[in-house]
Symmetry: C2
Subunit: 202 residues, 2 copies
């Protein structure tokens, strides 16, 4: 792609540094901004700068936050006896979007992966154990992907938390609601048969 | 989507204001920026701010430019006797990317559209006529979409430029190279038969 302007070229490069944005899309975004008033671009970059400058990590659960404590941790209506342990903030948001969970969270910031050189000390595990030691938590829900690394992380956390009298639970796995059986992968379908539950008529 | 941070929410909104970016994609971009160093975000927004602040319109062809004259207009090696007339900068870039054209350009900034209330005076037509009046231009290539509005614009420009002794030409239309005949639309295929050219063996 030939650019007749270095300024446009640099802005296109800036957009392509983002995940999933190629040069054609980046160019479309840049030309879109150039079509609008200058103030549109100013608002756009100001919102991003303000976020990057102002964002904090919640000192309790490591969620992104505007303050030292995130909105969830400082919400008095939430059940403080349950903690949902997630790999990252996006997983936290996914659970939160279901509106089915009213407990707290703990963001690990990754999972144990010996291949990538990520050990327990690289994750927010000590702070989870410290939370558990305070005695407020009764149950920890492992909402972690069922990969080898995920299972390793769950195993490690269980060894740390169970001695503190905390009930460990896992999110249910199975065929998705509305999902066709024939399209479910073998492992999921197999496990959903092994972990079958009694049918109850109400 | 529930956001535990107003700062993140505003940054996500900023990204969703761009074309083709929904909330899920915007969130992914925002979380990507939060994972990187602060300097990455600074460079990102600085490149966009610098572009929006510094970009100019070429005083000859209305292309986006870093200076009063764009790189193409100020390039002495280009053929100054031919002008390719395009609707927008993206069309200019598309032609430029073919590396088949060594003349100059003229960006109209739109096409005549009575329905949308866009008349000749809203477009960069006067400046094209002024360029033509200087006598340097011999040929004007209409690289404009063959819609009703496009044909109207071409007709209007021809009426203005032909009296000045300028040869008007149109880009060739037809079935795309490598394109299957059966998938070509009827109008394109029909016109490509009417506008057939003699086969030449070299």
């Amino acid at each position: 792609m030939v650019f007749s302007s270095k300024l446009i070229e640099k802005a296109v490069e800036a957009f392509t540094s983002l995940p999933g944005i190629g040069r054609k899309t980046a160019l479309r975004l840049v030309l879109h901004l150039l079509k609008q008033d200058k103030s549109t671009t100013e608002q756009f970059t100001a919102a991003i700068d303000a976020m990057r400058e102002g964002i904090k990590e919640c000192q309790t659960c490591h969620n992104f936050s505007d303050h030292d404590q995130c909105q969830i941790c400082s919400d008095a209506r939430r059940d403080r006896s349950v903690v949902c342990v997630v790999e990252g903030v996006r997983d936290l948001m996914a659970v939160e979007d279901t509106s089915q969970y009213r407990g707290l969270y703990h963001v690990l910031g990754g999972i144990i992966s010996p291949i990538e050189g990520i050990g327990p000390s690289d994750l927010n595990i000590d702070s989870l154990v410290q939370r558990a030691e305070k005695g407020e938590i009764k149950e920890a829900i492992m909402a972690i992907s069922p990969t080898i690394e995920g299972e390793t992380t769950i195993f490690y956390l269980t060894k740390k938390l169970q001695p503190l009298g905390i009930q460990i639970s896992m999110i249910a796995r199975g065929v998705a609601f509305g999902g066709d059986l024939e399209y479910a992968d073998e492992v999921t379908l197999g496990r959903s048969i092994v972990a079958r539950i009694p049918y109850e008529t109400k």
